[in-house]
Subunit: 182 residues, 2 copies
């Protein structure tokens, strides 16, 4: 630590200092059974027993409507090869089109849910919503993990830098800087 | 991505694949005004307006009692020089001693809260609890950020690998592997 004093910071500076943030896709499906996905930087595991994950989804988002309808989501961690498609899922709406197809992502049936899993996932946690809390301009869903699948041949997953750029970081803390894009 | 199929994974494998996780200290104070802090791997920003942060604290933890009493916490991101002390705060209880002193950490007054801020923080978000939700074996506190301070001379903050080891990663995705310890 340097000797610099703590000084007041704005939101942007704080979000930059707290980067990188783990970036995931929450797969969901709408009333018509159509698959959709939303890119999320705001999520965390929150309980061991039962195993629970909390995700925060903006109130106006189409995926918020989908999850409210289905009470399910699949939290999918993607790898560096999917960075561009994963980013598209965080920046475009699936309300009027097939966002997954535009992102170059495909789906496979989940083990326990009607909501599909993104086939390219490094890790996929199938979650049933157990609690819902309106928190400011977002809805916090607490989902119970009912099935977990993954692959070990692609261990680096995506993280966002200030929610503006993605990099891939592995569980050994190795970084793929060359997957960065804006 | 390789051609390997998705296969079912256990908790440990999934937590490893989803590493690294941002690791922070939540500073709090007890009924007697004593400062305490808990190491947390389970937290996330969850709203823009108002700015809200959710943290998950184990039900039996002393810090859970402190936060229930005071309805405040300061989310502190620490740097690589504080890795050992920050880890101690996640593995020992402050119920019967001065955990912060044992961790080599000091406190300064916060701007808006009676709960102090950890002086060595890279970033400190002062939070007032707005919502509380029992989620499995943890309590999820949603706190409104009422003040933010930080320093820019030490930008790498701590991340845990499978909640077992810490590394420091900067907002430019640079990694300090030499701060690793078990």
């Amino acid at each position: 630590m340097g000797d610099e004093e703590l000084k007041e910071l704005g939101w942007d500076e704080a979000v930059t200092l707290s980067s990188p943030h783990p970036y995931v896709l929450a797969a969901c499906r709408d009333r018509d059974g159509r698959a959709n996905a939303i890119g999320l930087g705001w999520w965390t595991i929150c309980s061991h027993q039962p195993p629970l994950i909390a995700i925060s989804v903006g109130v106006p988002r189409y995926s918020r409507e989908c999850i409210d309808d289905s009470q399910e989501f699949v939290l999918c961690l993607l790898g560096e090869a999917q960075a561009k498609g994963a980013w598209l899922c965080g920046t475009q709406s699936g309300r009027n089109g097939d966002k997954l197809a535009a992102a170059g992502l495909t789906t496979i049936p989940s083990l326990k849910l009607a909501t599909p899993t993104i086939a390219e996932s490094v890790l996929a946690w199938e979650c049933r919503v157990r609690q819902r809390l309106l928190v400011g301009d977002h809805v916090l869903y607490v989902g119970e993990i009912v099935a977990t699948r993954g692959r070990s041949d692609n261990r680096r997953t995506l993280f966002s830098l200030h929610y503006r750029k993605l990099v891939a970081i592995g569980p050994d803390a190795s970084v793929s800087a060359d997957v960065e894009f804006k």
